[in-house]
Amino acid sequence: MASIELSGLTKHYGEVVALQDVDLTVADGEIFGFLGPNGAGKSTTINMLLDFVRPTSGTATVLGMDAQADSQTVRQRVGVLPDGYHVYDRLTGRQHVQFAIDSKNADDDPEEILERVGIIEAADRKAGGYSKGMKQRLVLGMALVGEPDLLILDEPTTGLDPRGARDIREIIREEVARGATVFFSSHILEQVQAVCDRVGILREGELVAVDTIAGLRNAMTTDALLMVTLDRPFEDEVSLLETIAGVTSVTADGAALSVQCANGAKTGVIDIVEELGYAVQDFKTQEASLEELFIAYTDGERPGTKSAADADEETDAEEESATATSEIADEAEVDR
């Protein structure tokens, strides 16, 4: 069953189109990232899932129920970290969580929740004095009350330092392991990349892409930069390498080669270099980051849609390079 199903969802504010004809299905148990710049319609979509805002046309179904007609039941089973919220300044953290527990008729222990989101030491302080990050943790804690089937998190990492963002990712993974579905919006691509199964990209109220992270990366036409260190200076003509399918340009500087090429062409380049009699001592790739991908999708020109045939031909090479690059990515992670 689908946790979220949007069908032709549209919202106009007078002349302004906030969301146009969005169709989207989020399956049970997946972590779905909703990407887009500010004003793309992410919060509008979430607001319609929660019946804060009513669609101009189209429908939103959450956990099999109509988001508008059955809103209360929907919200009973959903945990929400809304965007642009404000905490009750005079209530303590504990009172906030207790309020969520009372509201959901749940039997959670406020201490446990506050412990989990890492603000137990501030439990009895008024939330008005919390830092932005602590407020974010508090509201996330409120969202966790009652073991929701679906977590809707609108920009959950706003105001958090990298450690806070990592804590949130950890909680997201725990929740999914428990059986929950997570739908979160963000404009910070690393966060999405780090945790999501699939992403949807929203641009000016329209859903321009829905895919897995890897799938999206493959769909990119942006080249990767491959940097190879050889055992001796490269003495052959660089044009030899430039004839390889997918390679855009090659520059040689002594034993260092930089090759601008499509993701799928990388292993081919290394093979040829080795065939030419050089030993590859080291290689690095600078992959097209999700950031670039995001810009490609959301800024003016959309990337040319690659034909399915092209994608098929590249599949073998892609897989190898994907393994190589993911190793590199892992190293990079450690460096950070």
Binding site: N47, F52, V80, L81, Y85, H86, R90, F99, M142
Partner: protein
């Protein structure tokens, strides 16, 4: 219960506010001072009757109704519009509350909040009166106290209704103050104008009977009149206008009807608008 969860949260929030306690101190002081004047200087106040608990209640009501009305505006005009403006409404409605729960929870929470200074102030005044006045009926005084809380409920309902009808606190405060001006401060002028116009731009010798109905419209008048309906002793002491008119509507119960009207109608309008609003 969802309504009680909202009301409890709202009340907890308000009880922590220092201004509420400052208000309570002021109100206790005001009630004690009023009681002192009632007991010590009855002749200054035009009182000819014996001092009594009912008389004290009527006298307190006259002074307290303005204070209660203004306080209701201060504590309730932001109830819905303010949460919408700030964004805490999203926190509230992310939880499984209906918009009706939110509206009625707010009314209950804010009324309970306003009831604190009322019960403290009139409670203290009542004790003072009980000691000083020989003819003091506890039952009548409790009815008076209860009715005052109902009056607070009416005013809070009006202001929460206004607050629900708009997403902007400045609009809500302007509307609430406008309401107070029209119905509590210049209503006498309005009724005068009505009589003048309907009589062909001249003043009649005697006021028409229907003006009794118009006079019951302001919440504070409805409150005083309702007191006469509930406490028969107050009819004479309060000089009920209904006694001088012979018409089916000339009854003190009209005050009760008007109070119910003020509790129900503005809130129903505000709720409808809030229910249909995009937050």
């Amino acid at each position: 219960m969802s309504v009680t969860a909202v009301a409890k949260k709202d009340f907890q929030d308000a009880v922590r506010s220092r201004s509420l306690w400052a208000l309570s101190v002021v109100f206790v002081g005001l009630a004690m001072l009023t009681t002192f004047m009632y007991i010590e200087f009855p002749e200054l106040l035009g009182g000819e009757e014996e001092l009594s608990g009912v008389g004290l209640g009527l006298f307190l009501a006259g002074i307290a109704s303005l204070f209660i009305g203004l306080t209701a505006i201060v504590i309730a005009y932001k109830a819905l519009a303010g949460e919408r403006e700030l964004g805490s409404m999203k926190l509230l409605l992310a939880l499984p509350h209906t918009r009706a729960d939110v509206v009625f929870g707010k009314v209950l929470g804010r009324t309970a909040t306003l009831a604190i200074p009322i019960v403290l102030g009139f409670g203290a005044a009542g004790l003072y009166g009980y000691v000083m006045i020989s003819e003091f009926s506890f039952v009548d005084y409790l009815i008076f106290l209860g009715l005052t809380v109902v009056f607070a409920l009416a005013f809070v309902s009006i202001v929460v209704g206004i607050s629900g009808s708009t997403g902007s606190t400045s609009r809500a405060s302007a509307l609430a103050v406008g309401f107070f001006l029209l119905f509590e401060l210049i209503w006498d002028g309005v009724t005068f104008g009505l009589v003048y116009v309907t009589n062909g731009f001249a003043l009649p010798e005697t006021m028409p009977n229907w003006i009794y109905v118009v006079n019951q419209i302001p919440p504070s008048s409805a409150y005083t009149t309702a007191m006469m309906a509930l406490i028969p002793d107050a009819i004479v002491m309060g000089d009920s206008a209904a006694q001088e008119i012979d018409a089916f509507y000339a009854t003190e119960w009209l005050g009760v009807v008007m109070l119910v009207f003020w509790i129900v109608v503005p809130l129903a309008i505000g709720y409808r608008r809030f229910k249909n609003a995009d937050l």
